[in-house]
């Protein structure tokens, strides 16, 4: 199974450098968000406990970047479905779960590269690791793990809709609310009650808060355990659902 996963992951990674435009577009959006929020809104946003808005904003942007990056999983799976490649794979004597695991692992690698670039952008606009280096590494790993978990949700969506365009729109329908109604850009304590309630239970808030605390040298408290729990929970549940769906794809 490991060998098949490796074969699948390398197939997906091999083509990344061949379509640099995809990688660039994956970066344009978060970079634009950084510039907009830091320079347009930044001047009028002050958040207690953070020396600059950058210290607050950038962890949120990182989290949003890895979440949007998981959209590649859905698009990739849908494309393979559309092209009939999944049918071929299902008729091969390979480990069937390797197809989706290979896909999510390669998207994790791709997400890591995007994330590294965003870190550099962050440094460029004045974001700093205020805590220890290990804490910053832990924060980054937490966010990437969170993105990996969401890859499984996208894989399930990709298998269900089987058209790249639909995956993209279906992804944005829930990705925008989940990133905006959270602590990504501003402190949710100013939200109206229903939104604040949503932001509080939003797993995205927990992940952003935990990594933000780690980057800034604070204790992440219960947010750390909560976000790790979310990431594992989502991976397990959606990993199971996606693999079951894969095994039954077209089987009706």
């Amino acid at each position: 199974m490991l060998r098949d996963t490796w074969t699948e992951a390398t197939r997906n990674l091999r083509v990344v450098p061949r379509s640099p435009d995809l990688m660039i577009f994956a970066l344009v959006q978060p970079v634009m968000f950084v510039l907009l929020f830091v320079y347009v809104f930044g001047g009028s946003i002050e958040i207690p406990g953070f020396a600059t808005y950058q210290q607050y904003l950038l962890p949120g942007i990182f989290a949003q970047t890895v979440l949007f990056g998981s959209g590649f999983t859905g698009a990739g799976v849908a494309e393979d479905m559309q092209k009939g490649l999944i049918e071929r794979l299902r008729s091969l004597p390979m480990s069937q779960s390797a197809v989706l695991i290979g896909r999510t692992v390669s998207d994790l690698v791709r997400n890591t590269v995007t994330f590294a670039v965003m870190l550099l952008v962050g440094f460029f606009v004045g974001f700093r690791f205020e805590g220890s280096i290990p804490a910053a590494v832990a924060a980054s790993a937490l966010l990437l793990g969170f993105g990996y978990a969401f890859s499984w949700i996208m894989a399930l969506i990709g298998l269900s809709v089987s058209s790249v365009e639909t995956v993209n729109s279906a992804g944005f329908v829930w990705m925008f609310p989940i990133t905006f109604v959270s602590s990504t850009f501003v402190d949710p304590s100013t939200f109206p009650t229903p939104l604040r309630w949503f932001a509080d239970i939003n797993p995205f808030t927990a992940a952003t808060n935990a990594s933000r605390a780690l980057y800034n040298g604070y204790s992440p408290g219960r947010d750390l355990l909560l976000s790790i729990g979310w990431a594992i929970g989502i991976s397990v549940v959606f990993g199971y659902l996606a693999n079951r769906r894969f095994a039954r794809a077209n089987r009706t």
Binding site: D4, T7, R14, R18, K83, G84, E87, L92, N250
Partner: protein, 321 residues
């Protein structure tokens, strides 16, 4: 390879009702039928993609339901869409499938090279598939299903959607494969294709076999070819019918429709000059004379009493998600 009483139901459509098929080793079985006859459903059951509701299916004596994994190691599948990764090169696609067959890196590379040569893709092998023509994609697709030297090759409508030239090239290619002794199940809607490539033909309609036999045997039973002449002056048509009667075998009827007069024949080609001579002798001017081979429509008309496209409405092939 063998199926016994295979049955499959999709919601309110019975796609297969007791389908029996057998292929002898190193031969080609042509499964001929209109859209919705159950061809693809049968292929998908045999290639472990779909579970039958009833009946059994074996590849190399292995039950496809009980041991799908062992069956997968022995089959090659080329479906209706070219299942290739467009972003990879032809060589990478082949190498990739070889690795998934666990041939190992060296063997996979070697096999990729061989297949590129065999399928006339050596020059294009290192180009990304996105730039391939439809015919090239289809060739690569078939090459990909041969990577692990399968004991049964499934070709599901391999020439559907190809232009006439690519179709002819594909026929030559399949004929070569067949000559090498690849046991093949070929589905098609095209009678000529089945005739050219298959050793035996099973005509299926609404999920079961309605006729089976060698191509010649079947053509006889289906009503063979016919010669059609088009007379210049419609008034001559009756005279033409009269003049052609002597050429008609026993039990056959010459028909006319407007300016077109049709003579059913069993061994057509030799009769064409005689037909022309007969017209000449009767002093009838003709605009056109042609041999027409039976089409799938004729076959169905003969076997079932209704046209192929009527069957389509009653048993649509399930849409593939």
């Amino acid at each position: 390879m063998e199926t016994i009483g295979l049955a499959k139901r999709f919601k309110d459509v019975e796609a297969l009702r007791g389908l029996d098929l057998v292929i002898a080793e190193a031969t080609v079985l042509g499964v001929l039928g209109p859209n919705g006859a159950g061809k693809t459903t049968a292929v998908r059951i045999l290639t472990t993609l779909l579970r039958p509701d009833g009946g059994r299916a074996f590849v190399d004596g292995i039950d496809v339901v009980a041991e799908p994994h062992r069956v997968r190691a022995r089959i090659g599948l080329t479906g209706q869409d070219a299942a290739v990764d467009e972003r990879l090169t032809g060589r990478e696609n082949l190498d990739y499938v070889g690795r998934l067959h666990h041939l190992g890196p060296r063997m996979s590379r070697q096999r990729a090279g061989e297949l590129l040569d065999q399928f006339d893709l050596a020059d294009a092998g290192d180009r990304v598939v996105k730039g391939y023509s439809g015919g090239m994609r289809r060739r690569l697709d078939i090459a990909m299903s041969l990577v692990a030297r399968p004991s049964v090759l499934f070709l599901d409508e391999p020439t559907t959607g190809l232009d006439p030239r690519s179709r002819l090239a594909m026929w030559d290619l399949i004929a070569d494969l067949v000559a090498e002794g690849t046991t093949t199940l070929l589905t098609t809607q095209n009678l000529e294709e089945a005739d050219r490539l298959a050793d035996r033909i099973a005509v299926i309609n609404r999920g079961s076999v309605i006729a089976e036999g060698g191509p010649d045997e079947l053509k006889q039973r289906m009503g063979g070819s016919r010669i059609e002449i088009e007379v210049r002056d419609p008034a001559d048509a009756d005279g033409a019918v009269e003049a052609l009667w002597p050429l008609c075998a026993e039990g056959c009827r010459v028909r006319r429709q407007g300016r077109v007069v049709t003579l059913p024949v069993t061994d057509g080609a030799q009769l064409v000059p005689e037909v022309v001579r007969a017209m000449d002798a009767a002093g009838i001017a003709i605009d056109d004379v042609a041999m027409r081979r039976p089409t799938l429509d004729d076959v169905f008309l003969n076997l079932t009493g209704h046209r192929a496209d009527e069957a389509q409405d009653q048993a649509p092939e399930p849409a593939r998600p």
